[in-house]
């Protein structure tokens, strides 16, 4: 690994013979990017997530069959829960290729895993996005206003944190009605306190800085100071926590579907396992495929999150 420090502003880069290679001024975005690409775990995480995002976006083109279509009338002589049939491993030419096999309803498991990626990843992003926006607002107000407002808001957050998150999410989804929208809401609500705490800490840390006082003296509005002067301090920890949080959200969606509070008619990885988990001993492939899909997506977000944390941490950077 080359040992240059791109954080020095406008530092020229030298080659082996001491010649100047470039005098490009340092840019925040480029430095951040090189920092991230230097983290092995972040790169592996990005690769895994790239694959899954591609699959989720082009799910309709990638899925070889309709995920709700029964193969029963279509493929003659097909058995339910048929094990995987892969051309490379000698699947006969007169059979359809089902690389993850069939489930109990004669549906193609691979197509279901592909389509299922949309809901799992999509809800994960949406839930965390919403939690960050609400959490950041609560944290910013609590940290900037302080006093009693701070106390009340943070005690509210403590109440949410006092429940084991899955239990609270189950109760919330049951209370609101078990559809995907409410699942997203529930996962979002249980993760708001984490983001509120992060932002509050950053705001309290930055509140007394001279540049904030200067902005105030110049007559900038409170909202302006919060959004333009203080919040940028909170962005790095929010990005790191948000990345890890999407992984957690994917796990929680799967868990909610597995215990059955998400309608089983939706194709999600968790509900695929919930429907079939009694067939574990007779047809393990039906459970293994969505199970591994969840594991890899979460692994991707975890690796990327860890990598981002290391890349952003100036103490570890040198």
């Amino acid at each position: 690994m080359t040992d240059h420090h791109p954080t020095h502003p406008a530092a020229p880069e030298y080659g082996d013979a001491g010649e100047i290679l470039s005098t490009r001024p340092a840019s925040l975005w480029r430095d951040t990017l090189t920092g991230i690409l230097r983290q092995r775990s972040a790169v592996v995480g990005l690769l895994i997530l790239g694959v899954f995002l591609f699959v989720a976006v082009f799910a309709d083109q990638i899925a070889p069959f309709d995920p709700r279509e029964s193969m029963l009338g279509i493929e003659p002589g097909i058995q339910k829960q048929a094990p995987p049939c892969i051309r490379l491993l000698g699947c006969p030419a007169d059979r359809f290729e089902h690389i993850f096999g069939l489930d109990t309803n004669f549906q193609d498991v691979f197509s279901r895993v592909v389509i299922g990626s949309r809901i799992s990843i999509g809800i994960g992003f949406a839930a965390v996005g919403m939690a960050i926006v609400i959490g950041a607002a609560i944290g910013a107000i609590a940290g900037y206003v302080g006093g009693r407002t701070d106390n009340i808001l943070m005690r509210l957050m403590d109440i949410v944190l006092a429940f084991p998150s899955l239990l609270l999410a189950i109760v919330i989804v049951s209370a609101l009605g078990s559809n995907l929208m409410n699942t997203m809401l529930a996962i979002s609500i249980v993760s708001i306190p984490v983001y509120a705490r992060i932002v509050r800490a950053s705001v309290i840390g930055a509140r007394e800085n001279d540049y904030v006082t200067a902005s105030r003296a110049l007559g900038e509005s409170t909202t302006g100071i919060l959004v333009r002067r203080i919040m940028p301090n909170a962005i790095t920890p929010l990005i790191v926590q948000g990345t890890l949080g999407i992984g957690t959200a994917v796990l929680e969606i799967a868990a909610l579907a597995f215990v059955g509070v998400v309608s089983l008619s939706e194709i999600t990885w968790g509900s695929m396992i919930a429907i079939e988990f009694q067939r574990l001993f007779t047809a393990p492939h039906i459970i293994l495929a969505p199970g591994l899909a969840i594991t890899f997506v979460v692994l991707g977000f975890n690796l990327l999150g860890d990598g981002l944390r290391d890349a952003f941490d100036p103490r570890l950077n040198r």
């Binding site: 509210l156 109440i159 890899f296 975890n302």
Partner: protein, 350 residues
């Protein structure tokens, strides 16, 4: 510490409200679709469900202050009795999983840090990364597949569900010590402890049932304990690495102390401080995971009970159980906070 009181009151309010917002008709959920209006009116009056919500809340608070969690609408049994029957399953599972996570995770983390970048380090950190990413129920199902199906007939085979084999029974403390005439809260406590099979079997020397209970607990314990294990191993590793780079460790080495003494006596002690917090923080995740583990391994614990209560619109049970779990969680976090002072003299002086 007093700050926990408003939080607890808030908890009660949230639980109470959520339980009431859950849609559906409690009467017909319990008595069946064909219950007549007259029967339902009587039912609703009997459980006080015709009162305005604020009054219901006041009555509930009064009830709670007397230690009364109400009577389950569905089981027509006091919630306290249900808790005595079912909470021990969850507690035993959770504590054993935590024990497993600490006993394996801490040494693994220490070893990884001490042999940094060795195959042990790289291998265990890869396993740790996969461990935190795998859903509890997927790991549980995989374990069942391997130990209950593939290894069937070998000595390594393990049962995939339940707490005891059929026909095996752990005698309760009341039976073993002939305390049949004890009643009231003490009897409740004895019954509660007796449902913690492993400690009870240990105390009373019921070795056969003890082995059976342990064999049943092994797979759920590993399934539930793997995520905290991975987290604990990672934190232990990075914490020891940080401490090993400090000046006082260099001083200890410079004094000519043996490497073993430096690492075990001087560095490890300080490195374990952050680990204590992390262990405490795992409890929320463990209780969440216990819900899933109970479903996977067919155990009747808190998770299963709450879920059944939600589908059965049994408000009283939903309230009672979620409340007790949240209380336990708040209480454990308080203990973790207090344990700092005990472990770290710097905190004590403040």
């Amino acid at each position: 510490m007093l700050i926990t009181i408003p939080v607890l009151l808030g908890l009660i309010f949230v639980v109470f409200t959520l339980a009431r917002v859950i849609p559906g008709d409690p009467c017909r959920a319990v008595l069946g679709e064909r219950a007549t209006d007259a029967v339902c009116d009587d039912f609703i009056r009997r459980y006080g469900l015709d009162q305005p919500i604020p009054i219901q809340f006041g009555l509930y608070l009064g009830q709670l202050s007397r230690g009364d969690l109400g009577v389950s609408i569905k089981h027509s049994e006091p919630v306290t009795q249900l808790l005595i029957d079912r909470l021990p399953t969850t507690i035993e599972l959770t504590l054993m999983a935590l024990l497993f996570a600490v006993v394996v995770g801490v040494p693994l983390g220490l070893l990884s840090a001490y042999r940094r970048n060795s195959p042990i380090d790289v291998g265990s950190m890869i396993v740790a990364n996969i461990g935190v990413s795998m859903p509890v129920f997927v790991l549980g199902l995989l374990l069942q597949f391997v130990f209950a199906l593939l290894l069937k007939g070998t000595p390594f085979a393990l049962p995939p569900s339940g707490r005891l084999s059929s026909g095996v029974e752990v005698l309760s403390l009341v039976d073993v010590w002939h305390l049949e005439n004890v009643s009231g809260p003490l009897r409740g406590f004895l019954d509660f402890v007796s449902r913690l099979y492993i400690p009870t079997a240990l105390i009373t020397g019921q070795w056969g049932p003890l082995g059976d209970a342990l064999r049943h607990l092994l797979l759920p314990m590993v399934a539930l304990g793997t995520i905290p294990l991975a987290i604990i191993a990672r934190i232990t590793r990075s914490s020891l690495l940080e401490v090993l780079g400090l000046d006082y460790v260099r001083t200890a080495r410079a004094k000519g102390l043996r490497e073993r003494t430096v690492v075990l006596r001087h560095a490890t002690r300080n490195a374990l401080l952050p680990v204590v917090t992390i262990v405490g923080l795992q409890l929320g995740g463990l209780l969440s995971g216990a819900v899933l583990t109970e479903t996977t391994f067919n155990l009747t614990g808190v998770g299963r009970t709450v879920y059944e209560a939600i589908t059965g619109r049994d408000y009283v049970v939903i309230q009672g159980f979620t409340l007790i779990v949240a209380f336990i969680y708040v209480f454990v976090n308080l203990i973790v906070d207090l344990s700092y002072g005990f472990l770290d003299p710097r905190v004590r002086q403040r």
